[in-house]
């Protein structure tokens, strides 16, 4: 049993810190509303819960009863969900406090949190830079020490990439490990709720609480919640594969140095390091940018102004209502992806794009199975090709923005668990290393992360 006052103390402290870090624009919930809710939640929180009193930020595309759920979009401005996500309900049952809704790229579409209708989120270490995205608000809050952990969501790297940029831990579980019920859909076959923490353990604790079967989501596997492994003494017996496609010649030299150092340290811990090949890696980004927009074009059809959210037209013509509401309610990136997705599903183009992309997706997943079948336990790669970029740097060049997901989209396409942890800094900016595990073997991936985390100088220059 914890100290029954702990929750209230934490609630007030986190409200205080949110107010002080407003410049990050990481939390969309107004501080006064947040404070009132946290105090109320603290009074209700059950002291026997495993996360008692722990404030957890929640990305604004995950439904909550306490706060609005806008997905960073005008089209859901002021929208209050009548139900809460399974992950959120489980956090509350475990005694955690829902510490507001964090900023994100609109409908999780973006890699910088610049595509939010409520303004860009700011990198905690450099105000000129982006915290990554799309879960940039959650990452910034954890990195700035406002909350010890936060929920994000992943479709193509939206947890790992901002974790890497912000120098914290970000975990994307296996597809089907965590219920998607209440996660506002972007690319349903890729979407998965993920977790940020300042340490592997903080993130893993939260993941354990939200994981496990859910009768409301049939894509969620019928499995018990994830059990946390103990911290291993060594990595003896681990075979860690290093895929050569993730270390192209034009990789940022600082990122390469940080990865080399981490690989050396894992070898020193007793792991066998093996160079491997995932030959279809080059097709991952194009494949992703067919499948994700295709699903998004259908998932976002429901936002038409007819039932909820603002209407941007007073006319009685239903077509005009759709056109105006969707034209003005969605931002440019969302409209772009809806158009791309509509195109690739259109009759006459379906076979050339969508079907082909699905075939390629199978080949990418097969690449991973081939490597794991040959005795490799885990893969290690850089999380992103570069450290955090500057705001405005890629906003006008969608393809450059899309390429910042190049090392992360593969795990989403293959449904595999993956995490990013900080492995050093370049000129003060964090670099993330990525571990990719086998489906539903998060425990092995976490063991390796625990071991590496203990030895790697995460804040040291490389």
């Amino acid at each position: 049993m914890s100290d029954p006052n702990e929750a209230l103390v934490n609630a007030k402290a986190v409200a205080e810190r949110i107010t002080k870090t407003r410049r990050l624009n990481a939390c969309l919930t107004p501080p006064k509303e947040l404070r009132a809710s946290l105090v109320q939640q603290a009074a209700m929180a059950h002291p026997s819960g495993v996360l008692y009193g722990m404030p957890v930020g929640v990305k604004d595309n995950i439904c909550t009863l306490e706060f609005t759920t806008t997905c960073g979009s005008r089209i859901l401005e002021g929208y209050r969900s009548p139900y809460e996500a399974t992950a959120v309900a489980r956090l509350k049952t475990a005694g955690a406090l829902i510490a507001g809704k964090s900023n994100c790229d609109e409908f999780a579409m973006g890699s910088s949190t610049e595509h939010s209708a409520y303004g860009r989120a700011v990198h905690p270490l450099d105000k000129a830079r982006v915290p990554g995205g799309s879960s940039g608000g959650s990452a910034a809050l954890v990195a700035a020490g406002v909350v010890p952990a936060a929920l994000g969501s992943e479709t193509g790297g939206s947890v790992r990439q901002p974790a890497s940029f912000c120098g914290i831990v970000g975990i994307k579980p296996t597809y089907g490990r965590v219920s998607r019920y209440g996660l506002v859909a972007f690319g349903s076959s890729l979407d998965q709720i993920g977790v940020f923490g300042r340490s592997v353990h903080d993130a893993a604790r939260v993941l354990s609480v939200i994981s496990g079967r859910d009768a409301r989501d049939t894509t969620c596997e019928d499995r018990d919640p994830l059990r946390l492994p103990t911290v291993p003494e060594s990595l003896q017996g681990f075979v860690i594969g290093v895929p050569r496609e993730y270390f192209p010649t034009d990789l940022d030299p600082g990122v390469r140095r940080a990865c080399d150092q981490a690989i050396r340290m894992m070898r020193d811990l007793g792991a066998a390091i093996r160079e491997v090949s995932l030959p279809h890696t080059a097709y991952a980004v194009p494949t992703y940018y067919i499948i994700a927009p295709a699903e998004a074009s259908s998932n976002l059809a429901r936002y038409d102004g007819a039932r909820y959210g603002p209407r941007f037209n007073g006319s009685t013509d239903v077509r005009a209502l759709y056109r105006e509401t969707r034209g003005q309610g969605f931002g440019a990136e969302v409209r772009r992806r809806i158009l791309v997705g509509t195109y690739v599903l259109s009759s006459g183009y379906y076979d050339a794009y969508y079907r082909k992309a699905q075939q390629m997706r199978s080949l990418i997943a097969q690449d991973f199975r081939n490597v794991f079948d040959r005795g490799v336990d885990l893969l290690f790669t850089p999380t992103t090709p570069t450290p955090a970029f500057k705001a405005g740097e890629k906003i006008t060049d969608p393809v450059a923005m899309y390429l910042s997901d190049i090392f992360t989209v593969t795990a989403n396409l293959a449904g595999l668990p993956a995490l990013s942890l900080p492995i050093g800094r370049i000129k003060g900016l964090p670099v993330g290393g990525q571990l990719i595990g086998q489906a539903f073997l998060e425990d092995e991936m976490l063991e390796a992360a625990y071991a590496l985390e203990r030895v790697v100088p995460a804040a040291g220059e490389v």
């Binding site: 995950i62 439904c63 759920t69 997905c71 859901l76 929208y79 969900s81 009548p82 139900y83 996500a85 998607r180 019920y181 209440g182 996660l183 506002v184 859909a185 690319g187 349903s188 076959s189 009768a215 409301r216 989501d217 049939t218 894509t219 295709a294 699903e295 074009s297 259908s298 976002l300 059809a301 429901r302 038409d304 007819a306 039932r307 909820y308 009685t316 239903v318 759709y322 509509t342 599903l345 259109s346 009759s347 379906y350 969508y354």
Partner: protein
């Protein structure tokens, strides 16, 4: 075939499954609740909500597929059909497309023109219903009721097999019968639990290629099926005969004016962008599951009809009447099983008195099978005349009770006392001397006249067989 033209019709039938809850959520699927009361985040398509397939709906759909002789596929896939409409809250309907639940079935039905025929079922798949747009509830506004949204449906698609509107109707009646029998659907067209769209084309007699088809929608009642298809067939024939050609389009039937109008092109220029629904895993059915559904199916009308002919020695026509509805077939067999009644009499009573009474009393079968069997037994045993039994039946239907007791209280028990009968016989013969002499000159068919007169004199109580015997004795010179 009208004036050298052949009509070709294929039907797409949507049937609402008889489940308690909706296809992908726990909301009630009941008809007639106040607008927008049977709804939840899932069927309202709220952000973040996810569908979970209803197992009972899958069971009923598999039973329907088996009842229609389809191949049920162990692996089928839910797909999204994308289009914008206010009564479609997700912006897509969850259906099945490339990999449907079942294919390649057939239905044997009686064509009024061509006898017993087999219609092919191209596919039968599962989907969810949309909500209802009400255009006449508020002036210049459309109201949306989402109670129906997410109600489970099967779509049954035939080949272009029907050659007349009458055949299409005959098939539908057979389909309705099969689905009703198996408890798969209420099949009530007025409540929208069965909806029909038809593909119609015409060609000159002897042509083998299909003509350009139109799709006729909005046929809201069984009564309109034939009318709507006839109107469209006649429109196409008239068009072709005047040198025009049929345009492939959707025609909406208006039952008030008995006419069709083309749907505006804008309303139908859909590219549905079907793709597998990533929210739902493929529907995987084990051989055991499919076998269980086969076991759960009752004896279907065609099989029952054949059995009634073979087992009870009924004519095909009588068997068809008795098996048209499952409750009637069960009732008939209940009467036979109760003992005392032979199958032929039971069949005649059910088709005559029982169905006649049901027609006037809300389709209720008011006399119990055991009661009817006893009544028939009384006739067979000579205790009641057929006429008297009908009176007892009426009383039995209205008030229930024991047939013999009713017959006694109404004074209808037949008189078999030869002394009493002889009195009536001599009265009748005395009053009809002319007929007696005609009979004696060889006009023996007058015997039935005398029997009738005795029955009249006895107010139906005379035992007809005894009466006949006495009459023959007395009339023999």
């Amino acid at each position: 075939m009208a004036n050298g033209w052949e009509t070709v019709i294929g039907l797409e039938t949507h049937v609402q499954l008889r489940t308690v809850s909706k296809m992908f959520c726990g909301c009630s699927a009941a008809f007639g609740a106040p607008p927008n009361t049977n709804v939840c985040p899932v069927c309202l398509g709220l952000p973040g909500a996810l569908p979970v397939a209803n197992e009972m709906a899958v069971k009923l759909a598999v039973r329907a597929a088996l009842a229609l002789g389809c191949t049920v596929h162990a692996h089928s896939v839910f797909a999204r059909k994308n289009y914008f409409y206010p009564d479609l809250p997700k912006g897509y309907q969850i259906s099945q497309f490339e990999q449907p639940l079942s294919t390649d079935g057939s239905v044997t039905y009686l064509s009024p023109d061509r006898g017993l025929l087999t219609a092919t079922i191209a596919r039968l798949h599962l989907e969810e219903d949309a909500g209802k747009s009400l255009h006449d509830r508020f002036p210049r506004r459309t109201a949306v009721d989402l109670n129906r949204c997410g109600v489970p449906l099967i779509e049954i698609v035939t080949g272009p097999d029907f050659r007349s509107p009458q055949e299409a109707r005959a098939y539908l009646l057979t389909l309705k019968q099969v689905l009703e029998y198996s408890g798969i659907s209420d099949v009530d067209m007025e409540k929208g639990s069965l909806r029909v769209d038809a593909n119609v084309s015409v060609r000159r007699a002897g042509e083998t290629a299909l003509g350009t088809k139109t799709e006729v929608k909005n046929i809201n009642s069984f009564a309109y099926v034939e009318k709507a298809l006839t109107v469209e067939r006649d429109r196409q024939v008239a068009l072709r005969e005047s040198g025009g050609s049929v345009v492939q389009q959707t025609m909406l039937y208006d039952s008030k004016t008995n006419s069709v109008r083309a749907q505006r092109l804008k309303e139908e220029s859909h590219d549905y962008r079907y793709f597998p629904d990533p929210d739902l895993p493929p529907l995987v059915l084990s051989p055991e599951f499919i076998a269980e559904q086969q076991t759960a199916l009752p004896e279907l009308p065609a099989r029952k009809r054949e059995r009634f002919v073979a087992e009870y020695g009924l004519s095909l026509a009588d068997a068809a009447v008795l098996t048209a509805e499952r409750p009637v077939a069960d009732y008939f067999e209940g009467v036979v099983r109760a003992g005392g009644a032979d199958a032929k009499s039971a069949a005649n009573w059910v088709m005559g008195e029982v169905l006649g009474d049901a027609k006037d009393n809300g389709e209720q079968l008011r006399v119990t099978p055991v009661g009817l069997a006893q009544l028939i037994g009384l006739v067979k045993g000579g205790t009641l005349s057929h006429q008297a039994a009908k009176r007892v039946f009426t009383d039995l239907a209205a008030h229930g009770g024991d047939p013999r007791a009713i017959a006694e209280s109404l004074g209808l028990i037949q008189v078999a006392d030869t002394g009493v009968l002889a009195g009536w016989v001599s009265d009748v013969l005395g009053a009809h001397a002319n007929e007696v002499s005609r009979y004696q000159k060889g006009e023996t068919k007058l015997l039935q006249f005398f029997v009738g007169q005795v029955m009249k004199a006895s107010r139906g109580k005379a035992d007809p067989k005894l009466t006949q015997r006495l009459l023959e004795e007395k009339l023999t010179p």
